[in-house]
Structures are given as C-alpha cells and as structure tokens.
Amino acid sequence: MKKKGILKKVLYSQKVAPYVFIAPFIITFVVFFAYSIFSMVMMSFQKVAGPNTVFVGLDNYKVIHNSIFIKSLKNSIFYTIVSCALMIPIPLVMAVMLNSKSMKAKSFFRSLLFIPALTSVVVAGVVFRMMFGELEGSFMNQVIASFGQGPLIWLRTPGTVWMVLFFVCLWRWTGVNMMYYLSGLQQIPSDLYESASIDGASTWQAFWNITVPLLKPTIIYVLTISIFGGMAMFSESYMIFNGNKSPNNIGTTLVGFLYRMAFEQNNLGIGSAVGVIFLSIVLVVNFLQLFANGTFGRKEK
C-alpha cells in the first residue's frame, strides 16, 4: 500500500510527468525508427541468406556501379527537378491570381481545385493510366485525334511517360500548394501594394519585389516537400505501370529499385545498401537546406 503511494507520488511529480507525456514517442522512435536504421546499416554490410549471415564489407555498395541503379537514381533526380520547377511557380502564380481583388468567387474555385488532393494515389493512378491508355478510344488519344494526330502508346515511350507522371503530380498537388501560398499571401499587409501602386509600380514589379521576397518562407517550405516527395516517388510510377515494372526501366525510381531489390529479389544486403544511400541523400539535402535557410546562423542569437 505504501509502495503504491510512493510510485504514485513519483509518477505525479512535475519532474517525471513530462517523461510520461513524451514516452509514446520515445518508445516508438527507439523500437521502429532507430532500430530500423541500425539494422539497415548492419544489413548493408552483410550477405543475408536464411539463417547464415556473412559480413561482406562494402560489397553491397558496389550497387552504385549497377546500370539500373544509376538509371533509377537519375530518374528520381530528374523527376524531382522537373516537379520542383512545375510545382513551385505554377501554384504561386495561380494563388496570386486567385487572391487578386478583381477575382470573384474565390473560395468556390479554391475548394474545387483542392478536390484532387482528396483522392488516393491509387484512384488517381487508375484514372490517369486509363485516360492515357493505348487504345484508340482512350480519352487522350481521342483528344490528339481531334488535332489530327495518330494514337500514341503513351506509357511505353520515355517522353510521354514522364509527361503523364508530371500530369499526375500537377493534378494532385497544385491545389494544395496553392493553399500554402494563399495562406502566406494573407499575411502580407495590403498597404505595401497600395504604396507600391502609388509609386507607380506595375503589377509585375509588385509581384517580384513584394510578393516573392515576402513569400520566401512558404516557397522554401514548398521546395522542401517537393524535393522529398520527388526523391521518394514510387507509388505514382507503380500505379501508372501497374506494378514495379516499366519497359526498359523508363519509369523506375530510386524507391522502385529499393523495392525490387528488397521485396522482389529478396536481396536484403543490397536493398539495405540502397536504403542507406537514400538516407544519406536525404540527410545531405536537409543539411544544405538548413544551411541555405540560415538556421545555423540564427541559432547563435
């Protein structure tokens, strides 16, 4: 009885309470995250075959010379760069247009443009895969036929494959990114624009000299999520090709390669090595981003 009292006292003390509150995070972090990273790094130096595990040093990392690995890494980087180039400026311009004083029914359009974000990657994948089907009657083939172009095999030619993937990306995320920008725009005081227009600045000048600099934090945020989303892209490609397979690996991404090694070929060593490489890329990008953001400098204050 007394023991229980002490335990209760300790648990209820102001010193122990914060640890009780954050315990769920610490436990899941250690069990699922830290342990996973640890075992992945260990496995990347091993050849795992059933119960026999052999230390093989850096052998698994020879995967960096594998031509399919190089291709998938290039694909991921290409996808990331182009999707950033699309997903940062386009929603920004649309947000500014939507926020314009002359615009009517703002919230109506805002809501409608947000709808694609509610669909899962699977539903989006099903629709786009079939819209860009190779049948003559597929929607996109009908569209180009009305311009006098012959039917295309969209999902087997590199150029059109990437176009479809960027369409899916634009379709799903424009509304969301636009919303980020809109909430950023609302924080810019409108007198800035008024005084700019009194000084004779054009809409374009106001956009470059007021909107863009003041939206910098939002732009950086959108850039960050676009980079990580881009590098981790897999499900979109999986849906468009109906599996982790694409003719000649035109649509294989870094995660796709990891998936192939780890789950399809059951090569745990190489799968882990690819995971470690991926993790290093993520950490380097984060570090660069924090650096560019000036976070290190600011902390000194």
Binding site: P18, F33, V122, V123, V176, S183, Y259, S272
Partner: protein
Amino acid sequence: MKKKSRTTSVFLIVFFVIVTAITLLPLALLAVSSLRPGSDLMRYGLNFNIDWATASLNEYRMLFSGANNYFIWYRNSLLITVVQVALALFLSACVGYGFAMYEFRGKNLSFACVLLVMMVPTEVILLPLYRLITRMHLINNMWGIILPYLVVPMLVFFFRQYLSGIPKDFLDAARVDGCTEYGIFFRIMIPLMKPSFAAMGIYQGMSSWNNFLWPMIVTNSITKITLPVGLQSLLSPYGNNYDILIAGSCFAIIPILILFAAFQRYFIEGMTAGGVKG
C-alpha cells in the same frame, strides 16, 4: 481604371473556369464511366462516349452484391483509419503537450528526434521495418500497419506549436488549485485543443485512408488488404475486373467528397497544416 479592372476580372474568371474544368475532368471521366459496363471500357478505353440509353447503375449493384471482396477492403480501411486517427491524435497530443509545457533534461535531443523522423521519408526504412513487423508476427494484421505510425511527428509538431500559445501561468494556477499534472492535461488542455483535433483528425484520416505503400507491404491476404491495395489489385491487364475497379474507385471518393463539402475549412486547415509557421 474601372474598365481595366473589369477586363482583369473577366480574364481571371475565364482562366479559373478553364483550369477548374481541366482539374475536374478526370473525376468526371471516372464518374461517367462507372455507369458503363466494364467490358465496354476494356474494348473502347476510358472516354466520355456514353450511350445514355444503356447507362445503368449495374456496376454499383455488382459492387454491393457482396460477390466480391470490395466491402471487406472497405471495412478494413475504415477500421484502420478510425483506430489510427484515435490513437495518433491522443498520443501525439500527449507528446506535443509534453514538449510545449515542460522544461526537462533531454528535451532538445528528443525534439531533434521528432524533427529527424519528420524529415526522413518512410520509404527509406521500408525494408528494415518490414523485417521487424515480420518478426513481431504482425504481417496481415492491422496492427502491423498501425503500430509504426502510432505517434505522428507532424501531429506532435503541430500540437506543440498550437499549445505554445497558451501561457504557462495557466498551469501553475491549476496546480495551486490542486489539479494533478495529468488532470491539467485531460481536464484543461484537451478541451482547449478541440479545434486543432478537428483539423489534425482530418489530416491523419486522409493519410490513413489513402495510404498505399505500407499497407501493400504489410498485407497480402485478399481479406486483409485495405481499399487502395485492393483497388490496385483489380488493375489487371485483362480488364476483367473493370466493373468493380471503376465503380469501386468512385465509391471510395464519394464519402470523402461529402465530408469535404461539410467540413471544408477543417480539411483545408488540416491538409495544409505543414505550412504553419513556427
């Protein structure tokens, strides 16, 4: 001057009408096609050519007939979503509260861990996490899908941010009145956090309901998979499942659209919560 702004106004509206029409086109295509027989789609492809005389709700009838696994998947997804939202909200609120309201040793280090989990894409640890879940015998079990994501860093971050606006004197006053540390959390803080629960619940609900990759890896039995994984499995090259695939895809979005129409503000708040500045 006035004339100019009128031209701009017309231009803007025309622009957004066109963009919105293009944006909604794929969903309209899906909706129209769900009224056509699947064999039609297989033969002619997905398009707007529909003969309204033969349009019917047959596909939906087939969906509801129970002759397929669709509603088993639907139920799995619904159950996982509800359980995950409830647990993630509660536990992440606890953790966020701990970080926002207390000073303790190791606080900065543990919060750095939250940020670390937030910035590493889950795809990175797919393989080791799968091995761990296998060893825990949680393959084909909904807890295998839920457990690794019990505490969601994004939610922790958001709740911490939300609570940091509440003055700490509030806590001291409650303590003087004899409230325990946990009493403060349950009786004072949770009611204060209600508005943020709505937005965060929708954020978590959407990501659980639409989650594809992790459930696909953890489950493989036809009766244990979730709705997105099930729909994906219908996408066979032979097109023999198109009936269920198209109507099923529609029926997966309809409830969300209804919820969106009713709780728009919370949807937008929740799904763009990441942009909230610290």
